[in-house]
């Protein structure tokens, strides 16, 4: 920016956003970018927890087969 200050003209926050369509675009894209990381990471965590539960169930079944005594 110090070397090429004219690039700041490309900033949509500074030079655009004065129409209703622009304002809604900012709102929707901000919401989209805010929701995307927790959605992906949350999905990943949910999936890992599901695998852990499935493995725990498998282990419990295996232990029951090996040691059927109550």
């Amino acid at each position: 920016m110090l070397l090429l200050p004219s690039l700041a003209d490309a900033c949509m926050v500074c030079t655009g956003g004065n129409t209703e369509a622009s304002q809604w675009a900012f709102i929707w894209t901000t919401a989209f970018m805010s929701v995307l990381p927790p959605l992906m990471i949350g999905g990943l965590v949910w999936w890992i927890r599901r695998l852990a539960r499935q493995r725990a169930e498998q282990d419990a079944r295996a232990e029951a087969v090996l040691d059927p005594t109550p």
Binding site: M12, T19, S22, A25, P37, L44, I48
Partner: protein
């Protein structure tokens, strides 16, 4: 029993010493999450610029080939389905996975080649990287996706080579799948947002 060690989310069962999610797959998933944010940012920037434009495409710029790119989209989706079939067959009979994997790779190659042909057409019609924001975004977004497609194709080719030699670990195939499914999954979004 499931234990957690230190600060790592490394869930290991007492009776199993391999991680729940293979390292290759976890690494690829983390990479995919970061690349998803990259594409999210690009699509967001594109939408904001387009919303602020009086006319889109800008005057004097060609309309993007939404309909013909549907062929490319179908080819890429089909490659995803074929890769899924290959991955389901591989654990039971590795040899039976070769043909669908090869078909998936060929369709991926067709996709990249067709994109190149489209680019040449667009360039001849006056849509260049510097001709307008429309051109800049088109080549940037589709180009970055193309680079990802090429990288994912290289990973598939490596997988194919390993299967041929009988060296292929299931986890490595799964990691290759994750990358290809990402490339396949992102494309319809880009097609609907950028080409429309």
């Amino acid at each position: 029993m499931v234990t957690r060690r230190h600060a790592h989310i490394h869930v290991v069962s007492e009776s199993h010493h391999e991680p729940l999610v293979p390292n290759a797959v976890m690494g690829m998933l983390i990479f995919v999450v970061t690349e998803a944010m990259l594409f999210g940012g690009l699509i967001s920037a594109f939408n904001i610029v387009r919303a602020g434009a009086l006319e889109w495409p800008p005057p004097g710029q060609p309309r993007l080939p939404f309909e013909t790119t549907a062929i490319n989209t179908v080819a890429l989706l089909a490659s995803g389905v074929l890769l899924y079939i290959a991955s389901r067959r591989y654990p039971k009979d590795p040899d039976s996975a070769k043909l669908p994997l090869l078909a998936a790779m060929l369709l991926g190659l067709f996709f990249v080649a067709f994109q190149g042909y489209e680019w040449a057409t667009m360039l001849s019609q006056g849509l260049t990287l510097l001709s307008s924001t429309h051109g800049s975004f088109f080549y940037l977004i589709v180009g970055i996706h193309g680079l990802h497609a090429l990288a994912a194709l290289a990973v598939l080719v490596s997988a194919w080579h390993r299967i041929q030699r009988g060296w292929m670990a299931q986890s490595r195939l799964a990691a290759a799948e994750v990358f290809w499914y990402f490339v396949v999954g992102v494309w319809p979004v880009l097609w609907l947002v950028v080409y429309r």
